[in-house]
């Protein structure tokens, strides 16, 4: 079986700083893969290179066997890669339903069809009751949920989440972990860039660890946290057994 997402030797520099240095990994259909690393490790740059917001200087990104390196973010979305933002983005003066419809219009041209599709996504993400609230009136946790719903409304094969769990209460965190498990059950593959280790440990099938722009370790979450290189680079003295 070929990988759904394949990152091959991606390098990206910013004015002399190498933010990503020859990073390679792949994600299989149906997997949840987390990308972790300390601040400045190059996670967001890698995220940008995959989703079309940044162009890698070297290396290739393949999605479903197709080369998507350097394509525009909107084209990459149409091919089936959705994403959320580190700083949550919803359309403030639209209702929750309208926000999700905006995503649904990608594959449902008519207003009615888009509305029906959007309602289905709202049911699945637990936002149906809030459908008539303004996007701006939601709590941060619900905005993040809405962002996931908008992304899902574009019918992606791969959903990329950029630090979706930062700043949530333990209850909200548990809810969003539940939501992401449900998303995976729908057949959507997930790549998660995350700081919140609790979520990473619970959700991930595999973890890719970046440090100073390089991939240092890749493996099951239980193995990765025991890896001396990871402990030294990221988890710190506290986690040494």
């Amino acid at each position: 079986m070929s990988a759904l997402l394949e990152v091959r030797g991606v390098t990206r520099r910013f004015a002399g700083l190498v933010a990503n240095d020859d990073v390679s990994f792949s994600v299989n259909e149906g997997e949840i893969v987390s990308v972790i690393g300390p601040n400045g490790a190059g996670k967001s740059t890698l995220f940008g290179c995959i989703t079309g917001f940044l162009r890698p200087d070297r290396g290739r990104v393949l999605f479903g066997g197709r080369d998507i390196t350097g394509l525009g973010a909107d084209r990459i979305c149409r091919l089936g890669v959705a994403r959320t933002f580190q700083i949550v983005q919803v359309i403030a003066d639209m209702t929750v339903l309208e926000n999700v419809m905006t995503g649904a219009f990608l594959r449902h041209r008519g207003r009615r069809e888009a509305g029906i599709h959007a309602m289905g996504v709202l049911e699945a993400t637990g936002l149906a009751e809030r459908r008539n609230q303004a996007g701006s009136a939601l709590t941060i946790a619900d905005k993040k949920r809405l962002e996931v719903a908008m992304a899902l409304a574009t019918d992606p094969r791969l959903l990329m989440l950029d630090e979706s769990m930062a700043g949530l209460t333990p209850v909200e965190l548990r809810e969003i972990i539940e939501l992401l498990r449900a998303v995976r059950k729908r057949g959507v593959t997930l790549v998660i860039v995350e700081h919140v280790m609790e979520a990473v440990m619970q959700l991930s099938d595999r973890v890719v660890v970046l440090n100073s722009g390089r991939k240092i370790v890749e493996g099951a979450p239980g193995e990765v946290v025991k890896d001396p290189a990871v402990i030294q680079a990221y988890l710190g003295e506290r986690y040494r057994a």
């Binding site: 989703t51 079309g52 917001f53 525009g72 973010a73 909107d74 084209r75 979305c77 149409r78 959705a82 994403r83 933002f85 983005q89 919803v90 359309i91 403030a92 003066d93 639209m94 309208e98 419809m101 905006t102 995503g103 219009f105 990608l106 041209r109 207003r111 888009a114 609230q133 009136a137 709590t139 941060i140 908008m150 992304a151 574009t154």
Partner: protein, 329 residues
């Protein structure tokens, strides 16, 4: 019930206006109000919905006026066909200028739109084919609907202006509830977010610019037929563009009736203050006008429509707002 009755009364009043106020000045003010309302609707589609702040409406207004007038005076083409031709020329011009500008955002787009409009004005000022700075004169005919000209009374222009506004509003309404309207609002919120939802903002921004240009140009043809004489100073200058922005912002950008409300407040105000006070050359009319604009923008940044909507919605909205507040953040 009350709203439906109010709407019916408003429509009746608008239709009967020429019969009630047959004298030239009120009718002139009404026609200018309708023209600016239509220009406001055009601007609203790209500025209010899609978030592209343009100060270049006059360029498309002028291109419409010039296209139909030149076709009429040089080739005897009916102004009705000229109206369509002007709309198409304006939309194509908008596409040609919008394409290289499609990556400009916020202030930069606004600056580029001013530059573009001034280039167009300068060009027409020196373009011999269309009379350069002397402009073009439309010959007087016996008049009638077929030739798009009325010389006995302004009524004909009033109704054409009304139909044009109605069509523009219909287009705006249809756009707002369709995929295009949703995409415009997404682009206005954030380019990044729009792209993430698979929206090609270059393509949809071009669509918004072209639609706005077409409507503005149609108004330009109407204006040319109304005044029968155009020159760059009367149809291509920056104050026209600014007035269009003001009409929309004051009425309520991003709402369907906003530009109509704004035009109904501002245009009579500016026409009347100018007629009453402008001739003395003291600038009192402009001072009054400026003071009102400042007041509305300070106290009602969502425009008159936002103010009215808030008043109408206050009662039913309260419980919902309270419920939203109860949920812990």
């Amino acid at each position: 019930m009350v709203r439906a009755a109010a709407a019916a009364a408003a429509v009746a009043a608008v239709l009967a206006f020429p019969a009630l106020f047959g004298s030239p000045f009120p009718l002139h003010v009404a026609i200018m109000t309708l023209i600016y309302a239509t220009l406001g609707v055009a601007w609203n589609i790209m500025g209010g919905y899609a978030g592209m702040f343009s100060f270049g409406t006059a360029a498309f207004f002028g291109i419409g006026a010039y296209t139909s007038t030149w076709l009429l005076t040089a080739h005897g083409v009916s102004p009705w066909l000229g109206l369509l031709a002007g709309g198409i020329v304006a939309a194509l011009t908008a596409a040609a200028i919008g394409w290289p500008c499609s990556n400009l955002r916020g202030h930069y787009f606004a600056i580029a739109s001013i530059a573009f409009a001034e280039i167009v004005r300068t060009h027409f000022n020196n373009w011999k084919l269309v009379g350069a700075a002397e402009g073009l004169m439309i010959p007087i005919t016996p008049g009638g609907l077929r030739v798009f000209q009325w010389n006995q009374s302004k009524e004909g222009y009033y109704y054409v202006a009304l139909v044009l506004l109605a069509l523009a509003l219909l287009a705006c309404w249809a756009i707002a509830r369709s995929r295009m309207g949703f995409y415009f609002r997404a682009i206005k919120e954030s380019h990044e977010l729009a792209m993430t939802l698979g929206i090609s903002f270059v393509r949809w921004r071009l669509a918004a610019i072209m639609i706005a240009a077409f409507i503005a140009a149609a108004s330009g043809t109407l204006y040319a037929q109304y005044v029968l004489y155009i020159d760059p100073e009367s149809v291509l200058v920056l104050p026209i563009s600014v007035q269009v922005v003001l009409v929309t912002m004051l009425g309520g950008a991003g709402s369907l009736p906003g530009p109509v409300i704004g035009a109904a407040v501002l245009v009579p105000l500016s026409e009347i203050t100018r007629a009453q006070l402008g001739a003395r050359g003291t600038g009192v009319d402009m001072i009054l006008y400026g003071a009102l604009i400042t007041l509305i923008s300070v106290y009602q940044p969502k425009g008159v429509h936002g103010f009215l909507a808030a008043r109408l919605a206050r009662r039913p909205a309260e419980p919902r707002a309270a419920a939203a507040l109860e949920k812990p953040a």
